[in-house]
Symmetry: C2
C-alpha cells in the first residue's frame, strides 16, 4: 500500500497539471499531506465516497498519462545512467587533475533536473 | 504559417499520444506527411471542414499540454545548455589529453535524448 502510494506520488509529481483542479486538490491532500479519506472530505466539503472516487479516477488517469508519455520511466533511466557518468567524470578529474570537471558535473546534474 | 506548423510539429512530437486516435491520424498527415486539408479528408473519408476542425482542436490541445507540462520548453533549455557542456568537455579532453571524455560526451548526449 505504501509502495503504491509512493509510485502514485511520483506520477503526481510529473502529471498533476493534467488533472482537473478538484482532482489535483484531493490527490495533493492524499499524497503530499497524507490526509485520510474522511479528513480530505471534511477539508473539501465532500463525502468520503466522493473522495474515494476521485482518488480512484485520478490514479487511473495518472497511470494512463505515464503509459502514454513515459516521463517517469525516462526520468529514472536518465538518472540511473547519470550516476555512472558522474562517477566516471569525478574519477577522471582526480586522475588527470582536471579541476574544471567538478563544475561540469554540477552543470550536468542541473541540466538533467530541468 | 510555416513557423506555426514547425512549432506544432514539435508539440506533436512530444504529446501525440495524448490525442485521440482520430486527431492523431489527422495531425500526422497534416504535419508529418504535409498533406493538404482536402487530401486528408479523402484519405480518412471525412469532409474538409471536419479536417479543419480536428486540426484546430488538436492544435489547441497540444498548446494546452505544453502550457501544463512544458516539455518542449524544458527540452530546448536542456539542449541549449548541453551545447556548452559538450564543447567544454571536448576542449578539456584535448587540452589535458583525456581521451575517455569523448565517450562520456556521447553518453551524455544519449542520456539527454531519452
Amino acid at each position: 500500500m505504501i509502495e503504491k502510494k509512493l509510485a502514485l506520488t511520483m506520477l503526481f509529481d510529473f502529471y498533476e497539471n493534467l488533472l482537473t483542479q478538484k482532482h489535483k486538490e484531493v490527490m495533493s491532500l492524499y499524497l503530499i499531506e497524507d490526509y485520510g479519506l474522511v479528513e480530505i472530505g471534511e477539508e473539501l466539503g465532500i463525502s468520503r465516497q466522493a473522495v474515494y472516487d476521485k482518488i480512484k479516477t485520478s490514479s487511473k488517469q495518472l497511470e494512463d498519462f505515464e503509459e502514454k508519455l513515459g516521463l517517469v520511466t525516462r526520468y529514472r533511466e536518465r538518472q540511473s545512467r547519470l550516476v555512472s557518468v558522474v562517477s566516471e567524470l569525478e574519477r577522471l578529474g582526480v586522475e588527470h587533475r582536471v579541476t574544471e570537471l567538478e563544475a561540469i558535473v554540477e552543470e550536468i546534474q542541473a541540466i538533467l533536473s530541468l
